[in-house]
């Protein structure tokens, strides 16, 4: 492994272990995308094959079906504690962008930000995979998660470039960017007032290229949507079907993606260029993130 990747891996594992040692009620968000899947792999490294906390997926029900199949396959194979949450009310009332009642940003707010906040604090139902029965059941545990591990990277967009490894969130899951507590050397914010929680970001120093290089070296299984299957198109970033479009690319496997990012046609194109909600207003994502979006 290259010395740089090794250092990134070392720091991320250290952070995961700090999180596990510091928070009684810890969870990790798994979006099924490449970043949080790398995070999941790093957790298995940190804890020697175990993932000793639940993985939480926010299901918008507009995800591409392959993503859900892949999620449940790894859940079974790796014996994961898998939990999902959703915004049932908004879905039933059709308050979504695909239903035409709200714009993209409001849809994100409904199906992701709000679903996330209520799933994390336990006020809305959580569904947990029962390995014996082979299906999801309502989770009896409704304790709020006080530590939440998230796979965001600093190179994704402006407000993420300013994140801490351990980032404090207030009672309403909001983020006060202008007044973040300090963290230095290898001491992170692991003390928190009751009612607040901490987001943990072990992948901040990784770039999109680092992620693919690591997937390659560790042979981490990824969802097939990232690869061109003959149509000349593939997804670079995975989100909800109506708001994420594939890019023109013929990369069929991980080495071809790495090549494309290093020197090929993607070397100077921003990753989230396929995400429509980022474009709605100048700081759209920053606003969402202040309210608790990943």
């Amino acid at each position: 492994m290259s010395a740089h990747l090794k250092r990134l891996e070392n720091t991320s594992v250290h952070i995961l272990r700090e999180a596990y040692a510091s928070f009684k009620s810890l969870a990790m968000l798994w979006s099924i995308g490449k970043d949080s899947t790398v995070l999941l792999w790093l957790a298995r490294k940190a804890f020697y094959g175990h993932v000793p906390f639940p993985l939480v997926h926010i299901d918008t029900h507009f995800k591409i079906p392959e993503m859900i199949e892949y999620r449940d396959r790894l859940t079974r194979e790796w014996g994961l504690i898998m939990v999902y949450g959703e915004n049932r009310a908004a879905l039933e009332a059709g308050e979504t962008f695909p239903d035409g009642k709200v714009d993209r940003l409001t849809c994100c707010r409904n199906l992701k930000t709000r679903a996330l906040a209520h799933t994390l604090d336990g006020s809305w139902p959580r569904f947990r995979f029962n390995h014996q029965a082979g299906r999801y059941e309502k989770d009896r545990n409704t304790d709020p998660y006080t530590g939440v591990i998230v796979g965001v990277r600093a190179d994704e967009e402006g407000s993420r470039s300013k994140e801490r490894y351990f980032s404090a969130r207030n009672r309403s899951a909001g983020w006060d960017i202008a007044d973040q507590p300090p963290e230095f050397w290898s001491f992170y914010k692991t003390d928190f007032a009751p009612g607040t929680h901490v987001r943990v970001h072990p992948l901040l120093d990784w770039t999109e290229l680092n992620i693919w290089e690591y997937i390659h070296q560790e042979r981490i299984p990824t969802v097939s949507l990232y690869y061109d299957q003959g149509s000349g198109r593939r997804y670079r970033s995975l989100g909800c079907q109506p708001c994420t479009s594939p890019i023109e690319s013929t990369a069929r496997d991980v080495p071809e993606i790495i090549e494309e990012l290093r020197s090929g046609k993607l070397a100077s194109v921003a990753e989230r260029s396929g995400r429509a909600q980022d474009k709605d207003d100048g700081g759209g994502l920053e606003s969402l993130r202040r309210e608790g979006y990943m």
């Binding site: 740089h4 250092r7 070392n10 594992v13 250290h14 272990r17 700090e18 596990y20 040692a21 298995r44 490294k45 940190a46 804890f47 020697y48 094959g49 175990h50 000793p52 014996g79 600093a154 190179d155 967009e157 402006g158 407000s159 470039s161 300013k162 801490r164 960017i177 202008a178 973040q180 507590p181 300090p182 963290e183 230095f184 050397w185 290898s186 001491f187 914010k189 003390d191 928190f192 007032a193 901040l204 120093d205 770039t207 100077s268 194109v269 921003a270 100048g282 700081g283 920053e286």
Partner: protein, 601 residues
């Protein structure tokens, strides 16, 4: 390589980095145009700084609020550049950014010259342990690219750095706005031959970690995952320095208890014997298994036997910088974190408070105000292990937590003695030499349904402490518990025979050594899993601290027999004269249950 850019507010840090990215073609397509459009739409002049100052508030105020990470690649290597804010209000953000860096660029505005935060940031770099610094004198376009202005600033700042023990790698005249000496040499400042910012970055040497340093592993956690039939007990942590091999003898500080490394774990699990990891080095997050069932917890420091041992102390002479809005006052209690350890500590005294911007001292300091730096003494509630002058800066660094937040940081300069130091050094020797049994403390506790504990009944000379202690012993014995009565005085004639001379009253003359020996005897009973019931006259809190220093992880409960205590000891229970013996015994038993000393099978 991680690089931080620091300096006084508005001196042009973000502009220089923005310019560096633009001039080296490091920006994604359309990014520059996007910022141009935005500036046009909002009728603001174009700023390279907006490439980094991404937050709405930052762009509105034209100032960096929080440090940004940007990724940058030169033909030589990859960089993460951390653009720190210069405004004093955001010093904590500057420190957050700077502490991640291996080298720093410090920016000084040519027209404004050396300002308050030019110095304060320089001082903080030194505190944070960043030794490689290049100084950029920026906005040279505003001073007519004058060599004289540049040289004057250089002289002034060189002298300042020398005063805090730093020496800059280089000084460069630049213009972030004009792009002079950023990615390519300046056309106007031909008198400068020291290269560009890009050259300086590529010139920073990255010192490889030194494998020869003593091994240090702050224990992060102990894993025992039972799912999928896993029975490994793994000691996890990131190696702070040195190397460890399978078969090495290691000790855990502050106690000094030692054992042998039986394995180094890896994931995915090794498929063959050659695949097995046999050695691990500095920087690696490892998991080790031990040959004996030692009681190890987060906060312990693993070191190699035969190498230099760490310092163990409760009192620390330290340099501290304070970041919280409310000052740190003498006597105030905070949490101190060092390595993975975490202890309560209070500020015992301050010898000097320095204004980091002027290097001037404050007279008669009684508190450390926000953004000040101080030389002071911290007193921890329990001993910690650390290194001073061992070439492992990480093992001497700590942070202070106040009101849930990291509120300050510091460096230990020296461990100072306290009243129990002499006892602790003997205990350390005992632990290092101790031959471990194969039966763990926990296994004994589970078998006997009790945790080895000392119940010390104290009171005035004429109190009924002995009656009470003996009644307790027989009550516990009646319940089928493993227990033993030992009076403090009974140790005097056997164990302490060498101290006892006919002409001296060894009880007063050798009181401390007498107590230490008694505690060592008690330690044996407790280690064997027994509940030892003892008596002592007029026990003081200092006596109790001494006994606790010997007992370490084992528990002592103090019962005061009589009305309120006549010494300063803080008892766990008071059995006054009014209470009948039986009731008192019953209460002690309830206390033992509450405290988890006695439990059901």
């Amino acid at each position: 390589m991680n690089i931080v850019i620091v300096g006084h507010v508005d001196h042009g840090k973000s502009t220089i980095i923005g310019r560096l990215l633009a001039d080296t073609g490091s920006l994604p397509e359309g990014k520059l145009e996007q910022v141009r459009d935005l500036c046009e739409r909002t009728s603001k002049p174009f700023e390279y700084a907006f490439l980094l100052d991404a937050l709405k508030d930052e762009q509105a105020q034209g100032i960096t609020i929080d440090a940004a990470r940007v990724f940058f690649k030169s033909p030589r290597r990859h960089y993460i550049i951390i653009d720190a804010p210069g405004h004093i209000e955001f010093l904590k953000n500057m420190i957050t950014g700077a502490a991640r860096a291996e080298a720093a660029l410090l920016v000084i505005d040519a027209r404004e010259g050396v300002r308050e935060n030019s110095r304060r940031h320089g001082y903080m770099l030194a505190m944070l342990g960043i030794r490689r610094v290049a100084v950029l004198v920026n906005k040279m376009d505003l001073v007519g690219h004058s060599r004289e202005v540049f040289e004057n600033i250089r002289k002034e700042y060189e002298a300042f750095l020398a005063g805090i023990g730093l020496e800059a790698d280089s000084f460069l005249p630049v213009s972030g706005m004009g792009g002079d000496n950023i990615a390519s040499p300046s056309g106007t400042m031909t008198w400068h031959t020291g290269g560009t910012v890009l050259d300086v970055l590529d010139g920073f040497s990255s010192s490889p970690p030194d494998d020869k340093l003593p091994f240090r592993l702050p224990v992060q956690d102990v894993y025992k995952f039972t799912r999928f039939g896993d029975d490994r007990r793994i000691i996890a942590g990131t190696i702070a320095s040195g190397q460890v091999r399978v078969g090495d003898r290691i000790g855990f500080y502050p106690s000094g208890k030692s054992t042998t490394v039986s394995g180094i774990e890896s994931f995915p699990a090794p498929t063959s014997d050659e695949d097995r990891v046999r050695v691990a080095s500095v920087g690696e997050p490892v998991g080790i298994t031990l040959s004996e069932q030692l009681y190890v917890t987060r906060g312990d420091l693993a070191v190699l036997q035969g190498q230099r041992s760490p310092t163990v102390a409760t009192r620390l002479k330290a340099s501290v910088f304070w970041l919280s809005r409310s000052p740190l006052k003498v006597g105030q209690e905070v949490l101190l974190r060092i390595g993975t350890a975490r202890v309560r500590a209070h500020l015992e005294s301050i010898s000097r408070v320095i204004d980091a911007a002027s290097l001037e001292g404050v007279s008669n300091p009684v508190e450390i105000a926000r953004h000040d730096v101080a030389e002071c003494v911290l007193h921890c509630a329990s001993p910690i292990a650390f290194d001073v002058d061992a070439g492992i800066p990480e093992m001497g660094r700590f942070v202070l937590i106040d009101n849930f937040e990291i509120s300050g940081g510091g460096i230990i300069r020296e461990g100072l003695p306290d009243e129990q130091s002499w006892v602790r050094s003997k205990v350390l020797q005992r632990n290092i030499k101790w031959e471990m049994s194969t039966i763990s403390l926990q296994a004994r506790a589970e078998r006997y349904c009790q945790a080895g504990t000392l119940v010390l009944v104290t009171g005035q000379a004429d109190s009924r402490k002995k009656d009470l202690a003996k009644a307790l012993e027989s009550h516990l014995f009646g319940l089928g518990r493993l227990t033993y009565y030992l009076g403090l005085g009974s140790v005097l004639y056997g164990v302490d025979a060498d101290l006892k001379t006919p002409e001296s009253d060894s009880r007063t003359e050798h009181r401390q050594e007498h107590l230490r020996r008694f505690a060592e005897v008690a330690h044996l009973f407790l280690d064997a899993g027994l509940i030892l019931v003892s008596t002592a006259t007029d026990l003081t809190q200092e006596d109790a601290n001494l006994i606790n220093a010997v007992l370490e992880d084992h528990r002592m409960l103090v019962i005061w027999s009589g009305d309120s205590p006549s010494t300063d000891v803080k008892p766990d229970l008071v059995a006054d004269r009014e209470t009948g013996l039986e009731t008192a015994v019953e209460r002690i038993r309830a206390l033992l249950q509450d405290q988890g000393v006695l439990y059901r099978a």
